[in-house]
């Protein structure tokens, strides 16, 4: 395999309960890229991410991260390896303040100075989080919670970010803001696998795209080509 492939899925199949949600998919994310995984509700996007991060066990196939087989590895070890999954719905920890949520994002970072530096970077990037540092995380607005969820992932120092529907439930203005954040993170060097329902927007950011339908990859290609082909947009990406 080539060294610039950071994450590689080979024939990954996994079930969610008794339902086969993902039925053997191949996917590659190259270092420094944004790759987007598109598809309708129930296509298997979230299950794919959960299989990578270890929350769902693969029934078949392999997940390779930087050349190492991480299939079946417990989720906390996958996270420690640098694969950081920001799940759908943000999952801000209620009962913990914004600051505690962020600090816990750096749970695996043992160096206190590094934790402090990262906290400063996150606060610099999302000033609202500094303002609300002592509020209960669950009391933030949807947009603020999304920033907290991303900031918390950055505290970890991810090699690759798995973002599941970061724009879900946000007002249109905040959707654009979120996408700008994703772009900025990528330009700063973070590799990103982005799951989105808003396909047009995702393809505008991404280098490469995959379209998932009923658990199989129907289509893949350069993001520009995918978004330029009207028949594809019509058939798979909705309006």
């Amino acid at each position: 395999m080539t060294s610039d492939v950071m994450l590689k899925l080979e024939g990954i199949a996994s079930a969610y309960g008794k339902i086969d949600a993902v039925k053997g998919i191949d996917l590659e994310v190259k270092r420094g890229q944004i790759v987007t995984l598109l598809g309708a509700n129930g296509a298997g996007k979230t299950t794919t991410l959960k299989t990578i991060s270890g929350l769902v066990r693969a029934k078949a196939g392999r997940v390779l991260f930087e050349g190492n087989d991480i299939t079946g590895m417990p989720a906390h070890q996958v996270a420690r390896a640098g694969v950081v999954h920001v799940p759908e719905g943000r999952h801000v920890l209620r009962g913990l303040s914004v600051r505690e949520n962020l600090e816990l994002g750096a749970f695996t970072v043992k160096d206190a100075t590094l934790r402090k530096d990262r906290l400063e970077q996150v606060f610099a990037q999302f000033p609202i989080l500094r303002t609300r540092a002592n509020s209960d995380g669950s009391l933030l607005s949807g947009g603020e919670q999304q920033m907290l969820a991303i900031g918390r992932a950055l505290m970890h120092g991810p090699k690759i970010l798995l973002l599941d529907e970061p724009s879900m439930g946000l007002a249109p203005k905040l959707v654009l803001e979120t996408m700008r954040i994703v772009k900025r993170l990528n330009e700063a060097g973070t590799t990103i696998l982005l799951v989105e329902q808003n396909a047009r927007l995702a393809l505008r950011l991404a280098h490469y795209g995959y379209v998932l339908e009923s658990g199989v990859i129907r289509l893949e290609g350069e993001a520009k080509k995918l978004s330029a082909d009207p028949s594809i947009v019509q058939a798979y990406l909705g309006s």
Binding site: P74, A79, V84, H85, P87, G89, H91, L93, G95, F107
Partner: protein, 304 residues
């Protein structure tokens, strides 16, 4: 004795009793927080903690004496030993049941309780066992109120342990991880937290606190019995529910409230001390009817 003397006396008794309840209630509430299990074997860990303290003290007394030094060292060693026992119980009995229906694990907890109780019944042949501490009878007189040194030390140790726990939970990364696991296990995993390790730490701490209470009860009241954990287990459960199960400050508050209620309740005209359990459990019923989430508990939020 004047009304005021009765009041201060019962206040003191209530605080002493409440300290025991609070220490045991903490384990209930912490375990419930992280694995959503009502660990009905928790009272037995108080009992085993008492016996562990007795065992250590009987080895150490020739060297350290049966006074507070000997008792303090026995208490610490009993806490560590019973802490590990708690972890073993979790691994052996509860961990395999975590994905099973809720009722199965509850029955498992009752079984663990029976095993510990009957194990100790067999070992002690049902006899009371003298703890073997000799703590003296000194104290301070404030007006008509006599506060023994033993009471002061007991309440002081309980308060120090609770403060240490509170600091651990609010200030350390592992304490925060414990709170994370109690609200969202999958998210905790994604943050790199080893959920099983956090569960083990929780069982260790909860069991160690119960053992501290058991050892102190042995030293304070003078004797141990294989059945001594049963009632305090129920009381601690009540205290945890009053405070709001899952809430650590709630368990402390609930324990104290319960201790005070029992101690004052028995002073009401026409109510003897044989009624104190009726008090506790009536309060439990009232709380469950009118404020099921307890004083400091938060309602469970269903996630989408």
């Amino acid at each position: 004795m004047s009304i005021f003397d009765i009041f201060t006396n019962q206040l003191l008794n209530g605080i002493v009793l409440g300290s025991f309840y609070a220490l045991v209630a903490l384990g209930y509430t912490m375990v419930f927080g992280v694995v959503k299990l009502l660990n009905f074997a928790h009272g037995e860990l108080y009992m085993v903690g008492g016996f562990a303290g007795f065992l250590v003290l009987s080895f150490l007394a020739p060297y350290l004496g049966p006074g507070w030094l000997g008792v303090a060292v026995s208490l610490v060693l009993a806490m560590i030993a019973v802490g590990f026992l708690g972890v073993v119980i979790e691994r052996v009995a509860y961990a395999p049941m975590l994905s099973a229906p809720r009722l199965s694990i509850l029955i498992t907890a009752l079984a663990v309780s029976l095993v510990l109780q009957n194990g100790m019944l067999t070992l002690t042949k049902g006899q009371y066992v003298p703890f073997g501490a000799a703590l003296g009878f000194g104290g301070v007189k404030l007006g008509n109120l006599f506060i023994s040194y033993n009471q002061m030390i007991l309440v002081g140790v309980a308060a120090a342990l609770m403060l240490a726990l509170e600091l651990f939970v609010s200030r350390t990364q592992y304490g925060r991880a414990m709170r994370a696991v109690s609200v969202d296990k999958d998210m905790a995993r994604l943050m790199g937290i080893n959920v099983n390790a956090v569960i083990a730490i929780t069982f260790f701490l909860g069991s160690a606190l119960a053992a501290a209470a058991g050892s102190m009860a042995g030293a304070y009241y003078g004797s141990l019995w294989y059945f001594m954990g049963f009632l305090i287990g129920l009381k601690a459960f009540t205290a945890a529910v009053i405070g709001g199960i899952g809430s650590i400050p709630g368990a402390m508050l609930g324990g104290l409230i319960l201790g005070l209620l029992e101690s004052f309740g028995t002073q009401l005209p026409g109510v003897g001390s044989e009624w104190k359990d009726v008090f506790s459990f009536s309060v439990l019923i009232l709380v469950l009817v009118f404020k099921p989430t307890g004083l400091l508990g938060k309602p469970e939020q269903e996630r989408m």
